[in-house]
């Protein structure tokens, strides 16, 4: 089998081999979640920051199942609708885990979970000034992506479709434009529903894909996690290989010369 040169990606000075980041929400239990993470090959998982249940302090914790020393925890700000709430959440996350690398998302409304870019940009600037390394969930808008980068985002993460929708990448043109214009890694975050859609993100030249529901809500989450690992790798290889040009009509694959 041919060996290809090692293909890694780097965000804020940290280098990873896996281009798949997986969420840790919506799983049946922690054991299934841990098995899915393993099958996905992910080196980074997103986690949320929430109040401890003070009436049941001995309840199992995520950290008991997914070891933060082996897998990078990327704390998120899911559920935050203002820059202030998101920043407050990440300050706590930094204290809880000691990580500067964080996922910022500031949502605009519950129905679409579409990002509020005005608040997102404001939060990015403040976080970057406080020494955070924010990977930022954003709209699939190349100008907004540029502005985030200028504000200190260490990665831009445009949505492919609304969070949890599984509708696939709706706007391949704008995702490609973001990739072409970005100096920081670009990851499609949200919207992927099945393996082919993860491959599409990678074929567009994205550095990675972040997903949660597509794995957690599959009939067999652990198998889907493996499918996503393979799809991300396949899409990446296809991008690096460079796809063939498209023709409007057929072009025979067998020679015409020597035909009997």
């Amino acid at each position: 089998m041919t060996d290809f040169p090692a293909d890694t990606w780097t965000v804020a000075g940290r280098t990873f081999t896996s281009r798949l980041i997986v969420g840790t929400g919506k799983y049946k239990d922690f054991a299934q979640n841990a098995a899915a993470v393993e099958a996905s090959g992910a080196e980074i998982v997103t986690v949320a920051v929430r109040r401890v249940n003070v009436s049941d302090p001995k309840a199992p914790m995520l950290t008991d199942f997914i070891d933060p020393k082996k897998i990078t925890y990327l704390p998120n700000t899911a559920g935050c609708f203002t820059a202030e709430d998101a920043i407050r959440t990440l300050r706590l996350a930094r204290e809880a885990g000691g990580w500067d690398l964080v996922k910022l998302e500031v949502l605009g409304e519950a129905r679409t979970l579409y990002p509020d870019m005005r608040e997102t940009l404001k939060a990015t600037e403040i976080l970057a000034n406080e020494g955070f390394l924010p990977m930022v969930y954003c709209v699939d808008d190349p100008i907004a992506a540029k502005q985030l980068e200028e504000a200190g985002a260490v990665a831009v993460m445009p949505l492919g479709a609304p969070i949890g929708s599984g509708l696939g990448i709706q706007n391949k043109v704008t995702v490609r434009l973001i990739v072409e214009g970005a100096k920081v890694p670009v990851l499609v975050d949200a919207g992927v529903g099945t393996a082919s859609e993860a491959a599409v993100a990678m074929e567009l030249g994205c550095d990675g894909v972040l997903m949660n529901t597509a794995i957690a809500e599959a009939k067999e989450p652990v198998r889907m996690a493996r499918a996503m690992k393979l799809a991300v790798e396949a899409g990446r290889h296809a991008y690096l290989a460079g796809r063939m040009g498209q023709r409007r009509y057929a072009d025979p694959s067998s020679p015409l010369a020597g035909l009997i």
């Binding site: 919506k26 003070v54 995520l62 998120n76 930094r94 204290e95 997903m211």
Partner: protein, 70 residues
Amino acid sequence: MAAEILLTVNGEPRRIAAGSSIADLVAQIGLDPKKVAVEHNAEIAPRSTLADVTLSEGDVLEIVHFVGGG
């Protein structure tokens, strides 16, 4: 005879002996301080200082940890 003070912890009222520190509160609840982060009156309370901060009547605390999320 130890007097008690009233706090708000994660949105709920909670009593603790006067003179207790944040570390005492975390221990009283039964949490591993290495796995949580504490916000004290809207300011981060660094883990290294939890034993040094004495709680006062009416203090508001948020104690958080990591949970599954996307």
